[in-house]
């Protein structure tokens, strides 16, 4: 069955109430019965929740074949904990048929790719898939299709009971013996633990894994001891150099700087750029640079930002310190400066993934956003964006909060170079739709700006400001004229991953890639 972004969704996936994507507000106003965890009662006083090993904690939490475990990805490429725990479950305890529900998976979890190949891990539910895990899933080696959800879609699915977490293994920079845990004050700090908080509320069991045990009470904490069963202390939870950079630096690349400057011009040309506007950027090259250019325009216009949302870098923190930003609502920290700032500044708040982006709660913060600046691997002439599959069809990306902020914001700007190497970024049809085109408003490339025809109001704003723009078809033609028109990818029938829209409907599927056969 075709959905609203013209993708064919196989009928066999449309069961248990699953529907195809039908537009960004399709679920608005509908009711949902929230799932609840089955939690163990600790009536009898105990002196501590410390366990001598991860295995002991697993046993205490009833680890079993066929269970679902969760990890958070605030430690990014520096994370040791997911692999460490998976190894205990599979190699020490000999468990099988495990489903992993992580906020993201990448190179740091390459070990899990082995367990997928061995058939020990049979399900993956995640926002991002990079590294070997993406390759083995794309090769069709995972027993069930992986489920790709956005940052908002994940807590929605948890609340809906579509994924029920048996044990959440949550890495924390510090914890006390009772399980009050947070992302600062330890040997390896990640700052916000916004990705982990919701899991601790909905998992049947929660295990905190830390390398820095501190005195009770470790307050204020991100994870509350009331939701924690066990605390494990290990030598090291991660590699600090890969968790966060010293400072996410603004790019020197003239192409990225130019696109960032154009994005800032676009922002300043819209009616939303007034005192009290709100803003989210990522840590990618051009989007981080946008910060610098909008700072200049805020000062010129004498306006301030009410809040900055999402992933945080030093650049945003510096804006707050200069009095240009009222508050930071922080889901994750990309550099040391942001981590330190979160710990020290009262207007820099940690928020959970659900508060941030969940489309099934009573109003996520993304719905308050004026602007978001995002990147794309591909964007097609219907403004659908792909950030999950490479041009070879292999899973190697992460929607993260992309679909959520695009849908929630008043003005979603995609910044991307027109081509990357030999690949056209603006194309006829993206390989995989991860953010539907009805959520995307403006595209800024190095060769020109295009406005979604759905947003004629914004096109008029650009005209009034004297900002030239072209059709997205013009950009596509330009891209193809530069690098050629690619042949379509060839797929097998097997669905290896399902891309859920943030509201839980089905946006797209990723199939097994057919290996390239050379003629002759």
């Amino acid at each position: 069955m075709k959905n609203a972004v013209n993708r064919e969704i196989p009928e066999e996936l449309l069961k248990d109430g699953k529907e195809v994507y039908q537009g960004k507000y399709y679920m608005d106003g509908k009711y949902i019965k929230r799932d609840s965890p089955k939690t163990r009662r600790y009536v009898k006083p105990q002196s501590s929740k410390l366990c001598s090993s991860i295995r002991k904690a697993c046993e205490r939490c009833g680890a079993h074949d066929g269970m679902t475990v969760s990890f958070h990805s605030e430690f990014r490429e520096g994370d040791y904990v997911a692999s460490m725990v998976a190894k205990v479950l599979v190699e020490e305890m000999g468990l099988k048929d495990i489903t992993i529900a992580a906020t993201s998976l990448g190179n740091a979890q390459d070990l899990i790719a082995d367990y997928i190949e061995q058939g020990k891990v049979i399900g993956i539910q995640t926002s991002g898939v990079r590294g070997r895990i993406g390759e083995v899933i794309s090769a069709g080696k995972l027993a069930t299709p992986a489920i790709i959800r956005s940052h908002g879609g994940r807590p929605r699915a948890v609340e809906a009971g579509e994924v029920h977490i048996d044990i959440a293994f949550l890495a924390a920079s510090t914890s006390d013996c009772w399980g009050n845990a947070k992302g600062v004050g330890g040997k390896n700090n990640c700052g916000s633990m916004g990705f982990a908080i919701h899991d601790s509320h909905y998992a049947d069991h929660t295990v905190i894994i830390t390398d820095t045990l501190v005195d009770f009470p470790n307050r204020p904490s991100s994870i509350s001891a009331e939701n924690v069963d066990c605390v494990c202390v290990v030598d090291s939870i991660g590699d600090a150099t890969k968790i966060a950079t010293k400072e996410a630096r603004v790019t020197e690349n003239p192409r990225e700087l130019m696109m960032a400057e154009h994005a800032a011009e676009v922002i300043a040309a819209t009616p939303y750029f007034t005192d009290g506007f709100s803003f989210q950027t990522g840590a990618g090259g051009p989007s981080l640079a946008v910060n610098r250019f909008i700072e200049k325009r805020m000062v010129e216009k004498g306006i301030k930002m009410s809040f900055a949302l999402g992933g945080v870098t030093s650049a945003v923190c510096q804006l707050l310190d200069k009095g240009l930003v009222g508050a930071i609502l922080d889901t994750q920290d990309f550099d040391m400066g942001a981590i330190k700032h979160l710990a020290e500044h009262p207007k820099h708040h940690e928020i959970s993934m659900s508060e941030y982006a969940n489309p099934a709660n009573k109003g996520a913060y993304v719905n308050q956003l004026d602007f978001v600046v995002l990147s794309a691997l591909e964007i097609d002439v219907d403004f659908n964006v792909n950030v999950i599959t490479g041009s070879d069809g292999i899973l190697r990306g992460a929607p993260g909060g992309h679909p959520d902020t695009a849908a929630g914001s008043k003005c979603c700007i995609i910044v991307t170079p027109l081509t990357r190497g030999r690949m056209a970024t603006v194309c006829d049809e993206v390989v995989t739709v991860t953010t539907p085109g009805d959520c995307v408003d403006i595209l800024v490339t190095d060769y020109g700006i295009a406005v979604n025809p759905l947003r004629n109001d914004l096109a008029q704003c650009l005209d009034a400001a004297g900002i030239e723009h072209v059709t997205i078809e013009w950009l596509r033609d330009k891209a193809y004229s530069l690098v050629g028109t690619p042949d379509a990818l060839e797929w097998e029938d097997q669905v290896v991953a399902v891309v859920e829209a943030r509201d839980g409907t089905l946006l797209d599927v990723v199939r097994k890639i057919r290996p390239l056969q050379l003629d002759g």
Binding site: P254, M258, D446
Partner: protein
């Protein structure tokens, strides 16, 4: 194959951006940054043993990249090197808009280049006279001979001072306020204006010194330059903004042109506008300001 339109001798040249002709990644789409002209360099940016490779890359770019309205100039190697003749053949065969003659010191240098350009145009079937010339003045002798240089050929659209070599030959460094090149800049400007050609200032080498760069650009405009060499896209915007007429200048020019049209009909030659006496040369300058404002895309009026 890209066929470029016939080059215009006089056009907007606020920025001329240098880039190494040997770097395909740079030159493949250098026009996207919005410089009025780009200068693909075969001279100092290219190592001595890479001149052939650079010419090859340059020729392919000229033949295959659509630079649109952006002017494409090539800086060739000096006449004291073994490279310049082959450089000229490559530039003309590729169809570039013009040649920047490095280290130009005399009218004879211009004539020598022109002779080879003409020969190349004939050799490759390019319209005779199509390829424009500009002179880079890099020595005291070049500055002293500026007038004879810029009047030596009809192809000559302007001259530029090249600060690096010039300062070395004068035993000076870059100074705040630009006093070290004040007389050279002034003399070159006089020569260019006397000959009716354009005049461009040297590039500013310190990419992170925004204040120093902006001060120099503002001084360039006050002195009467038409444009400036730039070496990084991030320098373009400020030059364009600075060289564009200000809203105040445009408003005054509009007032002059309108009043002139009215007065001319009633037969008045000299009169006052805003308490200041004006006559014919004022109107010519006012028309120049309006034309420049249009070219810079900052004119919103209806004249």
């Amino acid at each position: 194959m890209i066929k470029r339109p016939k080059p215009q001798k006089f056009r907007l040249r606020r920025t001329m951006m240098f880039m190494n002709a040997q770097k395909p990644g740079l030159i493949k789409d250098a026009y996207i940054y919005g410089a009025d002209s780009i200068i693909l360099d075969l001279e100092d940016a290219v190592a001595e043993n890479q001149k052939d490779a650079a010419r090859f890359s340059l020729y392919q770019a000229l033949q295959n990249v659509d630079y649109g309205d952006t002017e494409v100039i090539v800086r060739i190697n000096g006449l004291d090197t073994p490279h310049w003749q082959e450089d000229i053949r490559c530039v003309v065969a590729g169809g570039a808009d013009g040649i920047r003659i490095a280290k130009c010191e005399s009218a004879q240098d211009v004539l020598t280049v022109e002779e080879h350009v003409l020969a190349a145009e004939r050799e490759f079937g390019v319209e005779e006279g199509r390829t424009l010339l500009m002179a880079a003045l890099e020595s005291p002798k070049g500055i002293l001979n500026a007038y004879e240089i810029v009047t030596a050929s009809d192809r000559m659209f302007g001259c530029a001072i090249s600060g690096g070599d010039f300062r070395k030959s004068m035993h000076v460094q870059i100074e705040e306020g630009g006093i070290e090149m004040l007389s050279a800049r002034g003399q070159m400007l006089l020569a260019a204006r006397a000959a009716g050609v354009q005049c461009f200032d040297t590039m500013f080498p310190y990419l992170d010194d925004t204040e120093g760069f902006q001060a120099e650009v503002i001084q360039n405009r006050k002195m009467g330059f038409d444009g400036k060499s730039v070496i990084n896209p991030k320098q373009i915007r400020f030059v364009h903004e600075t060289f564009a007429p200000t809203p105040k200048e445009i408003a005054y020019a509009e007032k002059l042109v309108r009043s002139f049209n009215e007065q001319a009909e009633s037969g008045v030659g000299v009169y006052t506008v805003d308490g200041k006496m004006v006559d014919i040369p004022f109107f010519e300058d006012a028309r120049r300001v309006i034309a420049l404002a249009k070219a810079c895309g900052v004119y919103k009026g209806d004249l």
